[in-house]
């Protein structure tokens, strides 16, 4: 792990900031304690000493002596300084040998290093001196070693508390940073592998549901979707290749046979048949491009109010002769105009595809019905529906989702002419409009409906969603 990377890791920087804040906070608290113990205590002691000294200066000789004796004797900790000098500076009583030369006699407290009879080395103390009426001097004082000791304790506590705390915070920052960095590194490596082509890889989840986890989960969902789309494209590609290879092989065979033929007429027939196959292949490409065009164009600018019944009528007119020629009854059922917002041409194309399929798959003597009505989507509101039902073989429920896929064709329909793109095209038109394509029916025939209302999810294969 490179150091710069560690310092750049979010958690570490957070910990660093936290440690700084913690240190500042603790320093402030301890600073306050320190200030309290040293300054305030010192001042209080000075005030007391000054007062006592002032009183002592007025006290009668014998009582002063007695008081000084008591003061020294009762001081078990040897922190008291008490001395009485006469006007010549000679000691009359006390634990100081001589009047400290640098102590001004001004009834004020002073900090001095002083050596008493009880101590070997000079120690810091607060002293005050007061003049007596007879010219003598009373010196009262108190060693500050207690206070200093307290200050040392405070400082030690500060160091003892602050250093581990900061160390702890920084350590957790380092660990957290390293962990976060490891996760990011894993994610980066995984993404690297995915970009390298291994689309089955997924970002690891720690299970902690934190921000990184949530992000990873979303990325994984996105990858699922991409894989799904890629699979779809691959499937389409495979299907295109397969479906093109068949007519191309047949075409090749026909041309080869035509070239080998003795009769020029046979060559001609072969070429014509090959041309028809080629047109079939082009038709497929055309339809695929058309679907792609529809799926690309997200614009709905050309939408106007369209009468669904009129659309159905138009398609009915277009297919009626074809159905008749095939021996299929094409019927219409509508209850007056039914207005939707959409592209008239595209809606005609969609319904035409549905009817085209229905007529194609319905055997002779069967019936195809184009119905426009108000219907439900499973929700409260009834919306316009155009529905094409037939008496063909129907679409098995398991395959209903698949039939709208590009180039998907039911096995039993392989022999029927068509490129397997009709329903995909209808689905693309429905999606462009926000409509829903619902495939239903039984083995007595298919019922395919275009629900011209707000699509609320996948309509295909969801026959229970509407009556």
């Amino acid at each position: 792990m490179r150091r710069t990377e560690l310092f750049r890791a979010g958690p570490f920087r957070l910990a660093l900031g936290f440690a700084t804040a913690l240190s500042v906070g603790m320093l402030l608290i301890f600073g306050f304690i320190y200030w309290q113990t040293s300054e305030v205590e010192t001042r209080r002691m000075q005030r007391d000493l000054v007062q006592e000294a002032a009183v002592a200066a007025q006290t009668r000789d014998d009582i002063l002596l007695y008081q000084l004796q008591v003061r020294i004797m009762s001081d078990y900790h040897r922190v008291t300084v008490a001395a009485w000098f006469d006007a010549d500076g000679k000691r009359r009583y006390g634990n100081l040998n001589a009047l400290p030369p640098d102590l001004p006699i001004d009834d004020k407290g002073h900090r001095l290093d002083i050596r008493t009879n009880d101590t070997d080395v000079p120690q810091p103390a607060i002293l005050t001196a007061a003049k007596r009426a007879d010219g003598g001097t009373v010196v009262l004082g108190r060693a500050m070693d207690e206070l200093l000791a307290l200050q040392r304790v405070v400082a030690r506590t500060l160091i003892a508390g602050l250093l581990p705390a900061v160390a702890l915070v920084l350590a957790s920052g380092v660990l957290g940073g390293a962990r976060a960095r490891r996760r990011v590194q894993t994610v980066q490596q995984t993404i690297g592998r995915i970009m390298g082509g291994d689309l089955r890889e997924r970002l690891p989840l720690s299970g902690s549901h934190d921000a990184v986890d949530q992000l990873s989960a979303r990325v994984n969902q996105m990858l699922d979707r991409i894989v799904h789309l890629l699979d779809e494209i691959r499937a389409v590609g495979d299907n295109i290749a397969h479906d093109l290879r068949t007519p191309l092989s047949v075409m090749r065979a026909k041309l080869e046979r035509g070239l080998a033929a003795e009769e020029p007429e046979e060559l001609r027939r072969g070429a014509e048949a090959a041309l028809a196959d080629l047109d079939k292949a082009f038709g497929m490409i055309t339809a695929l491009l058309r679907i792609a065009e529809l799926e690309d164009s997200r614009r709905q600018a050309g939408f106007t109010t369209v009468d669904l019944a009129e659309v159905a009528g138009e398609v009915f007119d277009l297919y009626e002769p074809l159905a008749e020629a095939k021996g299929v009854t094409l019927a219409r059922e509508d209850k007056g105009p039914l207005f939707v917002t959409g592209d008239r041409d595209l809606l005609i194309e969609a319904v035409a595809n549905l009817v085209d399929n229905a007529v194609k798959f319905t055997p002779e003597g069967g019936r195809v019905l184009i119905r426009t009505r108000m219907g439900g989507t499973g929700g409260e509101e009834a919306v316009p529906v155009v529905e094409v039902s037939d008496t063909g073989p129907g679409i098995p429920p398991a395959e209903r989702a698949a039939v709208v896929r590009r180039l998907y064709r039911l096995d039993k329909s392989r022999h029927i002419q068509g490129n397997g793109l009709g329903l995909s095209l209808v689905q693309a038109i429905a999606a462009l409009h926000g409509f829903k394509l619902v495939i239903d029916g039984s083995d007595l025939g298919a019922v395919i409906a275009l629900i011209c209302g707000a699509a609320d999810g996948e309509g295909v294969g969801n026959p229970g969603a509407w009556p």
């Binding site: 038709g283 002769p321 020629a325 041409d345 194309e349």
Partner: protein, 233 residues
């Protein structure tokens, strides 16, 4: 099959050499004379100088900053009325291209059958005169546009509205090959081609009504191309 009167001269604007060679060869094989240029600018030079060009066939995508549609605009701005057929790739049939159909010019998507190309060229070359006549006549076939009735000789032919429109379209273009795609765009106003060839069935029904048993056929099927209405006698 150009009109019998004169040999039609066409001009092709196409930058793809293979495609250009094929189109020129196919059209020449059908009796046209074809000149060829690679850019719209070069084509404009030719068209300004040579007014004998009957129809211009222009690829939509052309090099040199001016595409086929720009060229149409430029020609119209200069007052040159030569009809233009724009060749468009499948994915690029947008509203601007479709607008050509309304403006008297036409478009065709690649790939196309040569028969379709020729039919479109002929349709552009022999645009029906904007006649105010209320009666159309082809041989013994007579259409009254006001009463919306059709007679063949003495026999009245009962037609459904769509059949009437189909026949009207054909009667305005006698002796011309009319392709299913032309009928879908011009008679039905559809932008799509149905999977099953429904136009054939419609034409079949119409043909049964026009050419009854024992009568000489007037509606002919042109192999690999479409249909043609021709006077029977």
């Amino acid at each position: 099959m150009p009109a019998s009167d004169t040999i039609a001269h066409l001009h092709l604007v196409e930058d793809e050499p293979d495609m250009a060679r094929e189109i020129v060869t196919s059209l020449e094989a059908r009796g046209y004379t074809v000149s060829h240029s690679v850019t719209a600018a070069a084509a404009l030079e030719v068209l300004r100088a040579d007014r004998s060009v009957a129809v211009v066939i222009a690829d939509r995508m052309l090099p040199g900053g001016m595409d086929g549609l720009d060229m149409v605009q430029e020609l119209r701005d200069e007052g040159i009325a030569t009809p233009i057929l724009v060749l468009s790739a499948l994915g690029s049939v947008d509203d601007r291209v479709r607008g050509l159909n309304a403006g008297g010019d036409d478009y065709l998507t690649k790939p196309f059958a040569v028969a379709e190309l020729v039919a479109r060229v002929e349709a552009l070359r022999r645009r029906p005169p904007d006649t105010r006549a209320t009666t159309l006549r082809v041989g013994s076939l007579e259409m009254d546009l006001l009463s919306r009735t059709v007679r063949r000789g003495q026999r009245e032919v009962p037609l459904l509205p769509r059949e009437f429109k189909l026949l009207e379209y054909m009667m305005r273009r006698p002796d011309q090959v009319i392709t299913p795609a032309m009928l879908l765009t011009d008679v039905w106003n559809y932008r799509f081609v149905p999977q099953t060839n429904v136009v054939d069935v419609h034409m079949g029904k119409l043909r049964h009504k026009i050419d009854e048993m024992g009568e000489l056929p007037m509606i002919h099927r042109v192999r690999g191309a479409g249909f043609m209405l021709r006077a029977a006698d």
